[in-house]
Assembly symmetry: C2
Homo-oligomer: 342 residues x 2
């Protein structure tokens, strides 16, 4: 009896000690995380998800994409590393992708049913939850910059069509002729989409939206998305890219997210906000939340696409349910990743 009592006492003491140790470990982790939160930077981008496979994309084309993704992610990371804001990094990074005809945003945007390019973009500041967005604009060179102007210099979140362009004229925003956006390959894609007997190629089956999420040295998360929408879209259709909560969301308490995919499904699931909400209310990790939404909920209702995201500790997620997604990241350790296929 005495021996079992002694054993119990030893066991209790051991458990007590273990608990104490666990606590001090978790204390030191949280201290470390607080310290490093002031230092770390991280950035992630996408150039659209879709049906792409190694054997259908020439090596040369792959190299072109990888070089442009590299240029964009490196630019954004250097801004962050030099102490620039996530707000600045996201815009400059997206500008590089918008200016490249490789992606469906800015120059190289897809054509709508009527034969011109209608652009959407949004940006959100995770510190203040401020946000700005534009939909259906046709002559602003870099739609993400106009989305920023809506956030910073209007009372509104979302401006559309000719009104958004009237607003652009009141700001220092580069305007271009609508012909600037038109590229021969996108025009061919429109013709294929409008000719029901034409064979679609892999480029017709990707969503070339671009997006960026960045974490700066102050711990601020910013997310942004820019797109030309869907080839052959009609009736001034607005997809998820300019919709805060669907295409873009950022909250310093959780994460920042930028989506790419079949926008209608992303709107119905409020994809970007849902990932943030799962982290906030279920205490799941960013990766778990992103996988739940993109790999489970989205296919359940028939949608496809992907997201890039990062959380307040600089953890990065790039999750998609399509064969490929143009993507790149530089993580909190400075490690660079650039990929196209699964």
């Amino acid at each position: 009896m005495k021996r079992s009592l002694l054993f119990s006492l030893v066991l209790l003491a051991f458990i007590g000690l273990a608990c104490q140790q666990e606590k001090s470990v978790s204390d030191s982790v949280s201290e470390k995380s607080e310290n490093s939160a002031e230092e770390i930077v991280a950035i992630v981008i996408h150039g659209g998800a879709g049906v792409m496979s190694r054997d259908r994309m020439s090596e040369e084309k792959q190299k072109e994409y990888i070089a442009k993704l590299d240029e964009a992610i490196s630019k954004g990371h250097s801004i962050l590393r030099d102490g620039g804001t996530a707000m600045e990094a996201v815009q400059r990074t997206i500008n590089i992708l918008e200016d490249s005809p490789l992606f469906n945003a800015g120059k190289g945007a897809v054509f709508n049913h009527e034969g011109y390019n209608e652009l959407d973009a949004s940006i959100m500041d995770g510190q203040t939850l401020n946000a700005g967005a534009v939909a259906g604009i046709t002559n602003v060179k870099n739609p993400i910059n106009l989305a920023y102007e809506v956030m910073a210099n209007s009372d509104h979140v979302l401006l559309s069509g000719s009104g958004a362009q009237e607003f652009a004229k009141t700001r220092n925003i580069e305007m271009v002729d609508t012909s600037y956006f038109a590229t021969p390959s996108r025009l061919e894609a429109l013709k294929r989409a409008q000719n029901k007997t034409a064979l679609l190629n892999w480029e017709d089956k990707k969503f070339g939206t671009v997006g960026c999420v960045a974490l700066d040295k102050d711990g601020n998360i910013v997310a942004g998305t820019s797109t030309g929408g869907m080839t052959n879209k009609r009736w001034n259709r607005i997809g998820d890219s300019p919709i805060i909560g669907a295409g873009t969301y950022a909250n310093n308490a959780t994460c920042g997210v930028s989506s790419t995919g079949w926008g209608e499904y992303f709107i119905r699931l409020a994809v970007a906000h849902d990932i943030s909400a799962q982290m906030l209310y279920k205490n799941t990790s960013l990766q778990e939340a992103a996988e739940d939404v993109i790999l489970k909920k989205l296919p359940e209702i028939g949608g496809d696409g992907g997201i890039v995201a990062l959380d307040k500790d600089g953890n990065i997620s790039m999750v998609f349910n399509t064969p490929g997604m143009f993507r790149a990241s530089i993580d909190k350790n400075g490690e660079k990743t650039i990929k196209i296929f699964k």
Copy 2:
């Protein structure tokens, strides 16, 4: 020692019995709830939230509002009680509010900066998560019906401006001249808003958006919202009403929500989706979730307004952080509530 052992045994037996009883009570409750889930119907509407007080609104005006809210809620409830769908009930109920010049939706919508009426609406089906919305339309008599057509008969969720109207022409939708929406009192409101020295009256300080959420006998939840937006809005501003996740959300697993208020803040918080997400991920009640978002999060970032909502069991919430909100409900017991002030 023996007495204390006996006491402990009696206590344990008592606890066991209590648990047993509690279980059987909860069983019978859950049975009742399962049965009644096939039977119950419930409906809730709002006609906008804002700065309104008893002494600034004539009794006659109050009676007018109450009569119209009564007409709308009774119509919707009778559809549900007769076995109609929530989809039908929400549209017909909102049509009554859209057709009344008392509310800022359809006839009686507020004027934009340029002096005409731009209307937004959205509707969502909680069973399928299908959704439809329109933004910035100017000659469709009942915008909520066009939102339904977008959901039911297009590949898209959100159509805007002239494109949305082109789509309307392909459907059996009643079109009207833009002058149909114009009312003298809203024109006066625009003049006051544009004349910075004018004294605003209480009607200038309310958000007259209308909305409805209904639960039908099949357990389906549908939410819808229709609005003229903000007086003096510019640049084709789009508020929260046509944004799925902000102004409207419905999910049979949780609840349906329709918002009214300063739309920009509702977009930034993804108000309607956030209420649904809290129920899903934190297992909170509808009322708790709605109070957290409307009474805590919204004022924290400077926003005001309210929501009406109901959950899958027919529980109704009407939560607002303004002095008043035009609202009415008929709950699962058939009890009617119609109120304007706090």
